[in-house]
Amino acid sequence: MSLRILVGCKRVIDYAVKIRVKPDKTGVVTDGVKHSLNPFDEIAVEEAVRMKEAKLVSEVIAVSCGPQISQETLRTALAMGVDRAIHVDVDATSYANLQPIHVSKILAKLATDEKIDIIILGKQAIDDDANQTAQMTAAMLNWPQATFASKVESENGSLKVVREIDGGLETIKVKLPTVLSVDLRLNEPRYATLPNIMKAKKKPIEKKTPADLGVDISPRIEVLSVEEPPVREAGSKVKDVDELLGKLKELGRI
């Protein structure tokens, strides 16, 4: 089978970091803060690599949009087993205003240029929490979408996908080409081993710009301010169940 996968990789502040809002309220502090591959994208990469190992696909291409440093994220994906990577270079200032709609246009164009059959993305990035890119990319390409996937099986050239929905799970079948967005429980991403990290250094990263792809990245949304959320008032400890229930009754909560 000669199917090709495009997998999206976003570099975000590491999930374990306690973020700080900038005093001028323009955003959050990113300088000198630990970054890593968006956890949902790690799952997307893992799924793509597993499909290749199962010989369902012939090539996996990772793509990341952002400044030069985004290449670190692509190296992580390459070390996990991705074949080659495309870095869509966006300078730091433009990147601060890059929105899912821009990334979707970039992905849609790359998917067409690279004759991609399956795009796999994380269901959301843990920085902007938008949860939009996969759905928008699918619409732009007029491909079906299988979002929040927790299980993916190949079936006669289609994909049978179990999705996480509000009341439980649902199963749909999508024809190729298609776009998937992955949920946390789809798989357990592998750690890149040292030999694979070394090998990844030799794998090619091709650099493009949004202009090369004919994508206008002027912002559609203007961020007016970013602020700290209201701090909850410090609570108190109670000594036993009686005191707890008594206080809840006083508060009218039970």
Partner: protein
């Protein structure tokens, strides 16, 4: 993909719309709310969306799609704020596939010139709204928690650790609404909203097929709508122990939730998960049992009115957001609460 039955009305509205543009776009701004339902019963998040729609201050139509949605339509007809309800009841909407519904919404937008399109930010809305954005070339605004004016919205980023205020510059605003931040619009028996039935729905998608759903059955209130939520974490140790929480929940009329750790450990199904990657809840009372309080969990519950933490580790981060904290072994405290709750409960 024209919707035939719309043509007659849309021609007229289209003409009025294009004239009005000479004077002011704003005057004829109008909102479409996309309703959601579960097995034909209106999803309450739709009523939260209507409250958000009211804050925009424009005329509001509501679209409801599905197969066998008479009951949901009847409920919507009790929303006195609505100008009309557009009903698309057709087998093509089985499984509520976004490929199909997005096409219909795009047609409706073109016909009626909606400037604002809103849907609840549940799994349905999150799946649908960006797809409409892709078709209309509009950058959507996800999961808003506040409305400043009809193009300025408030939402959270970084798992609720920062609050972003933004201006949407596209001429159409596509928005998903966080249900817990907007009151449910009250139903009124005297309301009688006109219903427009789309009898010819020319939308379909051959590329996707809905096969089946497995829904978790529960007698308890729905997690995002419950006024009390009791959640268990890794400290519950196993799935069987969740029975302790179910017993207490039943006495309190509460819904049961879980942390990601409890879901990942297989204690409970994943639709119970509260957090950045699960459900966002803001009940009157949230009781966190055996939950440490990781950032990802706090993102899903920290807007609760009163938070109670029960944990044997007095240094657990959950105590920093809890109004009332009990440092105790949950295996003693929870049965004791179940036993004593009746004598404390307000009559």
């Amino acid at each position: 993909m024209a919707v035939n039955s719309l043509l007659s009305s849309s021609l007229l509205i289209g003409r009025i719309g294009s004239c009005s543009r000479l004077f002011s776009n704003k005057r004829f701004a109008s909102t479409l709310i996309i309703g959601d339902h579960k097995q034909g019963k209106l999803d309450p998040i739709t009523l939260s969306c209507i409250t958000a729609g009211k804050q925009l201050g424009h005329d509001i139509d509501c679209l409801i799609t599905g197969e066998g949605i008479g009951e949901a339509t009847k409920e919507l007809a009790k929303v006195d704020l609505l100008k009309k309800i557009i009903v698309a009841d057709d087998p093509v909407f089985k499984g509520m596939l976004p490929e199909v519904i997005a096409s219909l919404v795009v047609d409706l937008q073109k016909a009626n010139g909606y400037t604002h399109i809103l849907c609840g930010a549940n799994a349905f809305g999150k799946n649908l709204i960006p797809r409409i954005g892709g078709h209309l070339d509009v950058s959507p605004v996800s999961d808003i928690i506040g409305i400043k004016d009809d193009s300025t919205f408030v939402r959270t980023i970084y798992a609720g650790n920062a609050i972003q205020t933004l201006k949407a510059k596209d001429s159409i605003k596509l928005i998903s609404v966080r249900g817990t931040n907007f009151e449910k619009y009250p139903l009124s028996d005297s309301a009688n909203v006109p219903i427009e039935t789309l009898d010819k729905v020319n939308v379909k998608s051959d590329a996707v097929e809905w096969i089946t759903s497995e829904l978790t059955k529960s007698e308890r209130p729905e997690l995002t709508a419950a006024s009390t939520v009791i959640s268990g974490g890794r400290g519950m140790k196993n799935g069987e122990n969740f029975k302790l929480l179910y017993d207490l929940a039943d006495k309190l009329g509460a819904a049961v939730g879980a942390s990601r750790a409890a879901v990942d450990a297989g204690f409970v199904p994943n639709d119970l998960q509260v957090g950045q990657t699960g459900k966002i809840v803001a009940p009157e009372l949230y009781i966190a049992v055996g939950i440490s309080g990781a950032i990802q969990h706090l993102a899903g519950m920290k807007d609760s009115k009163t938070i109670v933490a029960i944990n044997k580790d007095g240094d657990a981060p959950i105590f920093q957001v809890a109004d009332l904290g009990l440092v105790a072994d949950l295996f003693k405290a929870i049965p004791e609460m179940s036993e004593k709750i009746d004598s404390f409960k307000s009559k």
